[in-house]
């Protein structure tokens, strides 16, 4: 594991409830890397993602992510881990009872921001970054699916996280909008953040190729490892 490694899995087993779906998973992701996690429905992608953001407890193996060891993490520490991660969901999971700015302010307040001017500046900055500079006062339901996903990405960026975990971020979007989202995530990774995108959108992978972790037959195959072994 190098100094730049931000996600590390060693001999990890991933469970869906009581059923093991992935066994002996080991891989590392470095800062600034953009990585796809692919696999059929039920192959364990989402369970692996949920394990990474401590929504599913780690039962076997060792995961270190953004400096937290998930095998020893306490319930109280989970919110602080999640502040170091930006999580993007297929169904956006915005707070639909408040506008876009308030969605961002909520995360800021929850993570210790106090100064209103600084909060407004940061919200504007991340909305600029995702191309929604003028949509801060809109309610989530007034935005298109692609725009809602951009808000979700802006929300994930608010605390300048070291890792972005995107679980099927293009699952509800049309191909063109999907490409915009993937390109946005790639740009984010170029600024030094590790981005792990769970997807089954082959079209986007072909258009924007990158390192791919493939979940199949209870195992995770790393395209980098495969390429290295093929070339040697």
């Amino acid at each position: 594991m190098g100094l730049d490694t931000i996600i590390s899995l060693e001999q990890v087993s991933i469970f869906q409830k009581h059923t093991m779906v992935l066994a002996n998973v080991s891989f590392h992701i470095d800062k600034g890397e953009f990585v796809y996690l692919v696999g059929k429905t039920g192959s364990g992608k989402s369970s692996l993602m949920r394990t990474l953001y401590a929504d599913v407890p780690l039962k076997h193996g060792k995961i270190t992510i953004a400096g937290y060891d998930l095998s020893t993490i306490r319930r109280k520490e989970i919110p602080y881990l999640r502040r170091k991660l930006g999580i993007v969901f297929q169904d956006f999971q915005l707070l639909y009872d408040r506008n876009v700015n308030e969605n961002l302010f909520f995360v800021m307040r929850a993570t210790g921001w106090k100064n209103k001017n600084e909060m407004q500046d940061r919200a504007q900055e991340v909305l600029d970054k995702v191309g929604l500079a003028t949509k801060g006062h809109k309610m989530p339901h007034e935005l298109s699916g692609g725009e809602q996903q951009r808000v979700s990405i802006a929300r994930a960026l608010v605390n300048d996280p070291e890792v972005i975990l995107a679980d099927e971020p293009t699952g509800n979007l049309d191909p063109d909008t999907s490409e915009g989202i993937i390109r946005l995530l790639i740009d984010i990774s170029k600024n030094g953040r590790a981005v792990l995108v769970a997807t089954h959108d082959v079209l986007q992978i072909n258009r924007n190729p990158s390192r791919t972790l493939r979940c199949e037959n209870g195992d995770v195959n790393d395209s980098v490892a495969v390429n290295e072994s093929t070339s040697s």
Partner: protein
């Protein structure tokens, strides 16, 4: 769904909770009033028991006054009334509607002292002791009271008190259940919001705080409405002559009652909200969809 509609829907949900809390607290308040005033009612009933002391016809006025004074000085006496032979005859004539003295040719009634007892002495054991003490006086010819009625009354009061306490306990449990259900339903509708808050790194305390504060606010509003309703009911009862005797508008009782309603409103709403939020904070996504 517009923002305006969303706010309206939130307000209407809060209004439903406030109304539910208010109605349940009103019911609890009325029951508490019954419990608080049960002693006044039972004392009122007990203090209506009278012991009649029949006096010797030859007793001199001075002896009768001395006897009445000694009874007045005793701890069991609430009130005494001396009824002379003539007064007793007059009263009986009124009750019978005919002049029995004319028929009989003489007044067979005896002078008497009617003693109303203090509530604490209105039981057969105490009355037997009082009777024994009274009989020691040579002026006293007989002592009369309705023994069977006294024991039946005490038995009934005990049963009613136990009944009221059991009913109040059950009502309190049902009330907590009802308020809990209403609050839980309102928070259930926000379970995905709670999950989202959880996933963006908010601590459990940070997520719980606004829900609990809003729960306490609803509890306070519910208590205010309940106090207004209870006050209306008390005002109405106070104007019913039959209820006036229990001192329903006694300030101390009202202060205890309103304090109890407010504390219960806040406490129940707070606990129920905190427990409901805690439940959804700990549930995984699969359980959220199943529930």
């Amino acid at each position: 769904m517009s923002e305006k509609y969303s706010r309206l829907s939130i307000r209407s949900s809060a209004l439903t909770i406030v109304i539910s809390i208010a109605l349940v607290l009103t019911l609890l308040g009325i029951t508490s009033l019954v419990v608080l005033k049960a002693k006044s009612v039972s004392d009122y009933v007990k203090e209506n028991i009278t012991v009649t002391v029949f006096l010797d016809e030859t007793a001199k006025d001075a002896d009768i006054i001395a006897l009445q004074k000694s009874i007045d000085a005793s701890p069991y006496r609430r009130a005494t009334v001396y009824v002379s032979k003539e007064e007793a005859a007059k009263k009986l004539q009124e009750d019978l509607g005919e002049d029995f003295i004319k028929t009989l040719g003489f007044n067979p009634l005896q002078p008497s002292i009617e003693i109303s007892l203090r509530a604490a002495y209105a039981n057969n054991d105490s009355i037997a002791w009082i009777e024994k003490e009274l009989r020691e006086d040579t002026q006293v010819k007989d002592v009369y009271y309705q023994k069977s009625m006294v024991s039946a009354m005490n038995e009934n009061i005990n049963q009613i008190t136990i009944g009221i306490l059991i009913f109040s306990g059950l009502l309190l449990l049902i009330s907590i259940g009802l308020i809990n259900n209403t609050i839980r339903l309102a928070i259930y509708s926000k379970r995905f919001l709670i999950r989202t808050m959880n996933l963006v790194g908010a601590t459990q305390g940070f997520i719980r705080r606004p829900f609990v504060l809003s729960g306490i606010r609803n509890g306070i509003f519910g208590a205010i409405v309940a106090i207004a309703l209870i006050s209306g009911i008390i005002y109405g009862l106070d104007h019913v002559p039959d209820f006036h005797f229990i001192g329903i508008t006694d300030l101390k009782t009202l202060a205890i009652l309103y304090g109890l309603v407010t504390v219960l409103g806040i406490f129940i709403a707070w606990i129920c909200t905190a427990l409901a939020v805690r439940k959804y904070l700990r549930q995984d996504i699969d359980s959220l969809y199943k529930n």
